[in-house]
């Protein structure tokens, strides 16, 4: 079964209006799944990851119900047919710091 990636509303515009993107090829890890996702929709990459390849601070990625921060990060295994969810973190609802200038 294909792995799918679900997107938050804020990123739908980067994926041609899709909330859910099925991946055609098997992927063993989240990193491999994301490589496929970036090839399909290149603009998504910089919104989910920093330029240096880390998941953004206020973005959570789940495989099923597991947050990948607890399961090995981008090396987290992806079972066949799993859903990977990209979710804005509640912690990111504000800009966090008092920007003073």
């Amino acid at each position: 079964m294909a792995v799918t990636v679900s997107l938050p509303g804020a990123l739908v515009a980067y994926a041609g209006g899709r909330r859910s993107v099925p991946l055609a090829s098997p992927c063993a890890t989240v990193a491999q799944a994301f490589d496929q996702l970036w090839r399909l929709h290149p603009g998504l990459r910089d919104r989910v990851l920093t330029e240096q390849g880390a998941v953004r601070r206020h973005v959570n990625v789940f495989v099923g119900t597991d947050n990948i921060r607890d399961t090995g990060g981008l090396d987290t295994p992806v079972p066949d047919g799993a859903e990977i969810a990209i979710v804005p973190a509640v912690s990111g609802g504000t800009l966090g710091i008092e920007a003073l200038g």
Binding site: D46, E51, A54, R56, A89, G93, T94, G101
Partner: protein, 387 residues
């Protein structure tokens, strides 16, 4: 769903670009600047720290840097005063992979020299400079500054480690000043290939050595095009002027209630006239004594006068941030500023009297003014357009 209101701008109009913590607004008036029509919010929910206007080569292009707290900052452009914007997918201000840096915020979008109409600069956090040579279609990190040996030792100011001011010299091709908080003033004379400090005399009184080689916390710096070697600087404590392009700076804080502040703007036609909004202190970053006062010098900083007509002089504990004070270019200069409490004030007589243009905006972080000229047929900003 937020309803975004649109404006139509005509030649001779003034358009104010107001970036806030929750979106961007555009205000349009004719040359009388007595009545303003609001457009926006554009990018609702996004902080917009940087806006800019490129009126070169027949363009009428607004730049904005909407920033999602979750998904980061992008740079977008509009050639029709906000009715449509370039696609967010075309965001291309980014650090190279392997550089070790990731874009945190876009603080400044500045057109280059008039005779280099394809050149744009972008100042970002962490402190770095990007340059475009194709009017904003593509951007490249200015490696000469990024690789400067001081850079690893620059420290964040209260707003982060940001390169917030970019001043191309209008008369000397290749000369460029930038200001970094906290790093100081850096100058290049060779189109960004090499850089050296240009802040001798500017104090860093929050450091054990108040005159370090670098580490000054510059809040804003301005230059008048007719007098390019003269710059004015609002420091984290201290007001300064240089007459030799930053080789040496002199303290000009005489007659102000505080030399702490953020915003600074220069008169469009008089190189001796500069505006500031002093704040009480770095502990209490509000207008002193609850009085909202703009201070103006007309003699290059020898003396300052409080401008209060039309501004609240009681219970007004306001804050004006570093990019939230600006001027337009009409013959009788307009001066504008926004506050963290969401007020937008304007003067159509060089600051002598003021009116409240808007209240109830989200906290204002950026105010820029554009004088609209007749549109020419130019190539549109690149990218698919989104309403």
């Amino acid at each position: 769903m937020v309803e975004t209101r649109q404006i139509s701008a005509h030649p001779g109009d003034v358009v104010l670009m107001v970036g806030t913590m929750k979106g961007a607004f555009l205000f349009r008036s004719n040359a009388a600047r007595a009545r303003w029509r609001r457009g926006g919010p554009h990018f609702p929910g996004h902080a917009v720290y940087a806006m800019g206007y490129d009126g070169r080569a027949g363009r009428r292009r607004i730049w904005a840097a909407p920033e999602s707290a979750h998904f980061g900052a992008v740079l977008r452009a509009s050639d029709d005063f906000g009715r449509s914007w370039t696609s967010e997918k075309d965001a291309n201000v980014r650090f190279p992979e392997g550089s070790g840096s990731s874009l945190a915020r876009i603080w400044q979008v500045t057109p280059g020299r008039a005779d280099e109409p394809g050149t744009l600069y972008c100042g970002v956090e962490p402190a770095a400079l990007f340059e475009s040579k194709d009017a904003g279609t593509s951007w490249a990190l200015v490696r000469g500054l990024y690789d400067h040996p001081h850079r690893p030792k620059w420290q964040p100011g209260g707003g982060g480690l940001c390169l917030h001011t970019v001043l191309p010299d209008p008369t000397r091709p290749g000369r460029l000043h930038v200001a970094i908080s906290t790093g100081g003033v850096y100058r290049s004379d060779d189109r960004g290939a090499t850089w050296r400090t240009a802040h001798k005399g500017v104090r860093a009184q929050f450091l054990p050595d108040p005159h370090p080689e670098f580490g000054q916390c510059v809040h804003k710096m301005v230059r008048h095009p007719a007098h390019p070697d003269r710059l004015f600087l609002q420091n984290h404590w201290g007001l300064y002027r240089t007459d030799d392009a930053g080789e040496s700076w002199k303290d000009i804080a005489r007659g102000v209630p505080s030399d702490f502040g953020f915003g600074m703007a220069v008169h469009p036609h008089d190189p001796d006239t500069v505006y500031i909004v002093p704040l009480e202190s770095d502990e209490f970053r509000c207008t002193p004594q609850g009085k909202l006062r703009v201070y103006r010098t007309r003699d290059g900083g020898k003396s300052w006068k409080a401008l209060t007509r039309g501004l609240p002089q009681k219970d007004a504990f306001e804050t004006v941030l570093r990019d939230a004070l600006t001027t337009d270019t009409l013959p009788k200069a307009g001066v504008y500023f926004g506050t963290r409490s969401g007020k937008l004030f304007g003067s159509a007589d060089g600051g002598s009297s003021w009116r409240l243009i808007a209240d109830g905006l989200p906290p204002v972080v950026c105010v820029k003014a554009a004088t609209v000229h007749k549109a020419a047929t130019v190539r549109k900003a690149r990218g698919r357009r989104a309403a």
